[in-house]
Symmetry: C2
Subunit: 410 residues, 2 copies
Amino acid sequence: MASINSNFLKLKAGYLFPEIARRVNAFTEANPSDAAKLIRCGIGDVTEPLPEAVRKAMHDGVDEQGNRETFKGYGPEQGYGFLREAIVENQYADLGISADEVFVSDGSKCDSGNILDIFGPGNRIAVTDPVYPVYVDTNVMAGNTGEADANGSYEGLLYLPCTAENGFVADLPSEKVDLIYLCFPNNPTGTVATREQLKAWVDYAKANDSIILFDAAYEAFIQDPEIPHSIFEIEGAKDCCIEFRSFSKNGGFTGVRCAYTVIPKTVTGAAADGSRVPLHQLWGRRHSTKFNGASYPVQKGAAAVFSAEGKAQVAALIEHYMGNAALLREACTTAGLTVFGGENAPYVWVACPEGTDSWGMFDKMLNQAQVVITPGAGFGAAGEGYFRISAFNSREKVEEVCQRIATVFG
Amino acid sequence: MASINSNFLKLKAGYLFPEIARRVNAFTEANPSDAAKLIRCGIGDVTEPLPEAVRKAMHDGVDEQGNRETFKGYGPEQGYGFLREAIVENQYADLGISADEVFVSDGSKCDSGNILDIFGPGNRIAVTDPVYPVYVDTNVMAGNTGEADANGSYEGLLYLPCTAENGFVADLPSEKVDLIYLCFPNNPTGTVATREQLKAWVDYAKANDSIILFDAAYEAFIQDPEIPHSIFEIEGAKDCCIEFRSFSKNGGFTGVRCAYTVIPKTVTGAAADGSRVPLHQLWGRRHSTKFNGASYPVQKGAAAVFSAEGKAQVAALIEHYMGNAALLREACTTAGLTVFGGENAPYVWVACPEGTDSWGMFDKMLNQAQVVITPGAGFGAAGEGYFRISAFNSREKVEEVCQRIATVFG
């Protein structure tokens, strides 16, 4: 009798986005004439075209596949050297990371989920609240949690509240934890951590022999020169941190698929026999056994993000989305709402007006403004009282959203 | 203290291909003037250009990413409908498989490894011997085995010998097993299973409530019209089988990355509470949580495999490689060697002459013919006494290999 992984049965049935879809459908069915007015600012997906430099490189990569002399079959599972070297040169210069510490993949969601393969059972795991749901769900699947409560919080995970009081940067836990998921600039709050705050986390991890899984998917949106882009800017991080990076949000690769994970060779974990094992070695084995490399034309495209043209085109994309974020912040502030994030990230995190909870705000924005936002409670119990507006959109639609916010709250 | 997955430490350090590389390097260092003569017939990687229809579709897909109106961000994790529908129409017509039972991915190696995520602990697992190493190594990582013995066989797995006596189709086990990996046409032996043999396996699985993980990555090479291309041609398979398919070997996608897994909604496993759970539902959740869809231009390219031009171009590729296989079979037979496979698969499986073991043959072919083959023992204990020659090569190189075989054994 084949037995299934019963941990899957603990998973809540993706309550957030299906529930959003259900409410949007109900609205458009009840108000068919308003359906065309809907503007979606919910999901964190890019909207602007893939940079020309990237497309050109991908075309070249496809053409190479048409010629016996330049045809590429299986590539190195870890990614082509040309891409890993471009990543180190452009993203980790002076940080002491080498190209063989970079693992290219088809996405950060995959990496941040699959990373649990290399960790043992029994680790005490901390996540922030609100949180990117993949960190939680993959721990549920791996059997690292108990059942969920009514808020969708799982027994066995330590949730670290991120609130206006702590600037949406979790306080250090008072207990010992083994794995810590941190995401800065943060999804969903759009907030960032200072160098001092990150240093405190690295110090905590070193003192407690814990590992920080640092998700830096939004680093390209950082405008403040004082904010670190990489956890490896922090002293000691190369002993205790893994960093996830992506081409999704800077280069607009959400549909093209390319990301990478950086594991310094100096980061180790404890084996059952007490010996220390480099996580780099374990991930290398996992990557080469259960993955077969990212698509070659895609890797060519990713490398072109670091060309002179690519850099200029990506900078223009970032400027566009951050311009959107500034408009959304201003519209919310003018409307008397309290706003967080959106200065170094493409997400604006807005406090609900007194007396309205986050699903109440969702309904109000849908019914009165025909704007789809994401209720904070969908990201965890501490997200209650907030909603997220995504800046990934055309300028025209963002300007329209701003006008509607003025009308609803004016 | 972060603990690692200590099961990884049971893994043999990839003894096969690194050892091949070590011996090849030693040869070229000792015989630098012969290095240029080396012909590699070891690894199962395609060599011929990506079909023109595929490249054209990929170019179109890249161009679409350059236009705001046709830009594609995150796609459906399960794959675009246009590709899933093309797969069903062209590969599963009349087999009762629906498009929502097809999960598109970036590779069969990934799928056949990741599938273990949805199964629980305690399953009794059977693999064939010789075997594609990924099936074994991913079970080791998942904690489904004990330690390896001197042959590289892991405690706790049931190895089913495939020999000349049983035509390299494993006999049914005399005991009850829960998960069974079958691969036809087979890697590494290049042999196939008849309809009756597959029927016996499906009947066994149904009788024992076990699941067959059926790897059909090489189905496009089948020449004999009596040999099933899909396990779902067998009555009852939709109750107990998962099938893995790939664009790697037919369309030449090893560097481009696209594959798919078919899970009928009628296949179930047992939960800890005794309830039956559809594996389709579990894999759907796994796929959408730990994967973000295959690259859009790649999915466009994969769909083009099923266009009229694509079909003709793929047929020409298959004809080329199978022509190579026929030449290699003939050369070996003429040289007095006993040959298996190579009639419905791009691998020729050759018995070593009496008195030579498979690594001995490897050394002989390397030293006397400068041809790199794969020793059968590298695929498992029952592979001892055989070697594999891959037909993935140019015609010119295959003809040269045939001449050298004639010289060495002449």
